[in-house]
C-alpha cells in the first residue's frame, strides 16, 4: 500500500485556484520531491496535505485513510509533520522549547531520546539549546525547523524549501542530513526550488507547472531530461 495518495486535489485561496488537480503517490521509505517554479503549487500541495488549506475537491489517502478534510492537529497525530516554508520557528522560544513544541501531541516517554537524535543530526542545535530561536541565523533556524518536525516522530516528513535563503555550504549540510533522515527510515516529501539538490537526494520527482503535474519520473531520469535541464537545472 502506498503511504500517501493524492487523487486529483483542487485547492483554492479565496477565489483563486492554486491547485488544478494534483495526483501523486509516495511509497513507504521513499524520498519524493516536487519541483517547479514559483507559483506552480508546490507549497500549496504540502499545505493541502497538512490540512492548512484543505483541498476543495479530491482525496488524500494516508495509509489508506482519508485525511483531506481533517484538522491539522489530527493529521499531525497520524504521523505527518511538516517543516514549513520560511522555517517559522517560534522566535521568542528557546531552541529546546521549539523542539518540545514539535513533540506537542506525543504522550510517550521517548521524547528525550528523540531530542538526542535531533541533536546528533544537528550538533549546532545542542550548542544553542538555551538560545531564543529568533536570534539565530537562517541556516540554524532551518535545522531547528527540520529537527522540530522530526520531534513528532513522523512517518511522513514534509519539507518545504529547506534550502531557501541559505548559504550554499549549509545547503550541502542540510541535504546530507535529509538523506541521512531518509536512510534512517523516515519517508520524505520534499518541495524544492533548487532542483539540482532535490533531484540528487530523492528517488522520484514530480514537476509541477501552474497547479498541475507536468511530468513525473525517477529523479535520475529527470536529470537527463533536456526540458527539465533547460527549465529547472539551468544547463
Amino acid at each position: 500500500m502506498s503511504m500517501l495518495v493524492l487523487d486529483d486535489i483542487k485547492t483554492y485561496y479565496g477565489n483563486i485556484q492554486a491547485l488544478k488537480g494534483i495526483s501523486l503517490t509516495v511509497e513507504p521509505g521513499e524520498c519524493v520531491t516536487l519541483i517547479g517554479s514559483n507559483g506552480a503549487g508546490k507549497s500549496t500541495t504540502l499545505r493541502s496535505i497538512s490540512g492548512l488549506t484543505p483541498p476543495r475537491t479530491g482525496s488524500i489517502l494516508f495509509e489508506g485513510q482519508e485525511i483531506a478534510r481533517m484538522a491539522p492537529q489530527d493529521i499531525v497525530s497520524l504521523g505527518i509533520s511538516q517543516s514549513p516554508e520560511g522555517r517559522r520557528c517560534f522566535p521568542r522560544m528557546t531552541v529546546a522549547e521549539n523542539l518540545d513544541m514539535g513533540a506537542y501531541l506525543r504522550r510517550d516517554t521517548d521524547v528525550e531520546q528523540d531530542r538526542d537524535r535531533v541533536y546528533e543530526l544537528f550538533p549546532r542545535l545542542e550548542e544553542r539549546s538555551k538560545q531564543k530561536a529568533g536570534t539565530m541565523s537562517g541556516g540554524e533556524q532551518q535545522m531547528l525547523a527540520i529537527g522540530r518536525a522530526l520531534m513528532a516522530k513522523p512517518k511522513l516528513l514534509l519539507l518545504d524549501e529547506p534550502s531557501m535563503g541559505i548559504a550554499p555550504i549549509l545547503v550541502e549540510r542540510i541535504y546530507e542530513t535529509i538523506a541521512e533522515i531518509n536512510k534512517q527510515g523516515t519517508t520524505i516529501l520534499l518541495v524544492e526550488q533548487n532542483a539540482n539538490f532535490a533531484l540528487g537526494v530523492s528517488h522520484r520527482a514530480y514537476v509541477l507547472e501552474t497547479g498541475k503535474v507536468a511530468l513525473s519520473d525517477e529523479s535520475a531520469k529527470l536529470r537527463e531530461n533536456p526540458d527539465v535541464q533547460k527549465a529547472y537545472l539551468g544547463a
Binding site: 499545505r47 520560511g86 541565523s137 526550488q193 527549465a231 539551468g234
Partner: protein
Amino acid sequence: MTSAMGNRNVKIAIFLAGLFVVAILPLFFNESSGFIDDCTLALAYICMALGLNIIVGFAGLLDLGYVAFFAIGAYTMGWFASGFYADADIHLFVGEFASSIPGIHVNFLIVLVIAAALTTLAGIIIGLPTLRLRGDYIAIVTLAFGEIIHRIAINGDEVKIAEGFPLTNGRQGITPVDKIDLPFLEPFTSLNLRPWYWVALALALFVLFVNFRLRDSRLGRAWIALREDEVAAISMGIPAVKTKLLAYGTGAAFGGMSGAFLASYLNTVNADQFAFSFSIFVLAMVILGGLGSIWGGGRGRGRADVHQLPPHPRRAQRRAEQGRARIRPLRAVVRHLRLPARDHDGPQTRRPDTGAAPPDGARTGHRRGRHRARPGGAMTDSSPDLILDARDVSKVFGGLTAVGGVDFAIPRGGIVSLIGPNGAGKTTFFNMLTGLYKPTTGAILFDGAPITGGRPDKIMARGIARTFQNIRLFGTMSARENVMVGEHARMRAGLFGSVLRTPRVRREERHVSDKAAEELAYVGLAANTFDQLAINLAYGDQRRVEIARALASDPKLLLLDEPTAGMNPQESDELTALMHRLRDERGLTILLIEHDMKVVMGVSEYITVLDHGEKIAEGLPDEVRADNRVIEAYLGKGAMHE
C-alpha cells in the same frame, strides 16, 4: 481612471440624476419635518465619515479619536459665533439677532474656514507624535487624544484663557449658538430646515468631491501605498510622516467643518457630545460603507482574496558577532575594478522634465577595462569613480552586531554583488544604504555627498532605488499604479493641486502614467497586464513590476535584493540580461544581493562577501570563488566545481 469613456458617461448621468433627487428632496416634506432633520444630521455625519475615510480608508491609520476634530470644530463655532464670550464685543457680518447679543459673533462662512484651519492644526499636533507609531498603537494613542480632548472640553470651564474667557463651558454647554447666516439669503431659522439641509448637502458633496479627486492622485496613491506596505512605500520615496500627516490633517479638517455646522444646527456645544462612542459611530459608518472605497464596496474587491494567501516567510533574524577586520585597503581594491564601457555622449532621452536629472557628465569618464585612466579635468573629487562609498559602517541591534565596521564602495556604472550566508548582514546593509536603518557608526557617501542616516525618501530622491527580497508590491493597486508610486519623488502635485486638478497636475499625471507604461514595457511586461492588480500577476512578472517601480524614480544606483529568488533558471537568465541592459542602455549602477551563484558569477564585476556582519573577502568573481575563507564560511567545496 481605467473605465471606458462610455461607461463613465453613464455613471456621471446616474450620479447627476441622483444628485438632483437628493437636492429637491426636502421640497416634498414639511419644512421642519423630522425626516429632513434626520437627513441633515445624516449628511453632516457622512461628511465626518468621508473625512475619516481619508485617514482610515486611504491611509490606513486606525483613528479611534476622530471625535476630537468634531469637538474642536464645534467649539470653534462656539467660540466665534455665540454669546459665550459675553465680555467681548465683536460682530462680523452677522444678522440682526446675533448683533444684539454680546459676545463674539462671526459669520458662519468665516468660522467654517477657521474651524478647518484649527482642526488641521490640531490634527498635525496630535499626528506628529502619533503617526510614527505602528498599527494598533496609533489606534490607542488617537483614542487617548480623543479622550484628552473630551476631558478638556468637560473641564475647560476651569481653564481661563483670560479673565472671563474660559476655554469651554464644560458640561453646561455653550448654548445657544448663532444660526447660519449666508450672504444674500434670509438668516436661517430653527423651524425651516430646508436651508440647513442644503448646506449640509453642499458640505457633503464638497467632501465627496475631494475624496474622489484625492483617490486618483499622487497623494492618494502614496496613502494607499503606505497603507499596503509602509516599508516599501517609504523606500519608493514617500515621506511617511509628512504624507500621513496630510491625510490626518485633511480628514481632521472635514471633521472640524462638519462639527462647526453641527454646533450651529444643534444650537449647542456640549462637552458630553464628544465621547468615545461617537468616534466608534463614525468609524462604523466608514467600515460598513467599505473601507477606502468612497461609495462603499467596489474597489476593495481584491482584498478578501489577498488576505487568505499564505503569509510570506518571515524575514530571518539577523545575527552577527562582534569584531571587525579590514581585508585590504579599499582604494587599492577599487583600482582593480573592471568598469563598463558605455557611450554617454548622446543626450539622455529618458529623463522626464520633472525630475532632478543626475549630472550625466559625471559618467563620461568611465571606460571598460581593468586599467582605466582616472578621469581628469573637471573632476576634483579624489574618488570620482565611486558612486557609493561607505566607511566603517556598523549596525547594532540591542547589543547584537548585525553589521560591524564594513568598508564598501561601488564604482559608478558597475555591477557589484554582496553575498554571504543568511544573517550575515547583507539586507541590514541594504537597509542602511536606503535609510531604513540608521547606522550605529560610520558614514556613507553617495555621489560625493553624505547620506548617513538620512530619511529613506530623501535618499531615494537622490537616486538610490531598491527592490525587496520578498516581493513588496502594493497589492490593491494595478501594475501601472505601482510604478507610478515609484515616481512619487519626481512629481510635484500637492494636496490642493490634486483636488483642483490644475492643467499642470493633469499634464503631470498623464506624463507619469505614460512613463510607467514605458518602464513596464522596458522590463518586459505585456501591455495587457499593465492595468491588472499587481497581486494577480504571475510571480516573475511581479518581480519585473518591482524593478520597473524602482526604475521609475530614475535612480543612479539600483539595489536588487535577491531578485532571482523563486525564479527558475530560465527566468534568472532573462533577469541577468535585463541587468546588463540597464547598465549599458541606461547607465545604471547595480548592487545585487544574491544567493544563486550562477547569477552572481555571471553578472558581477566585483563581489564582496559578508559573514557575521564582517567583510571576509572581496574581489573579482574568480578571486572570491577561490578564497578559502569564503569557501569555508559560505560556498562549500561543492560550489567550486560548478
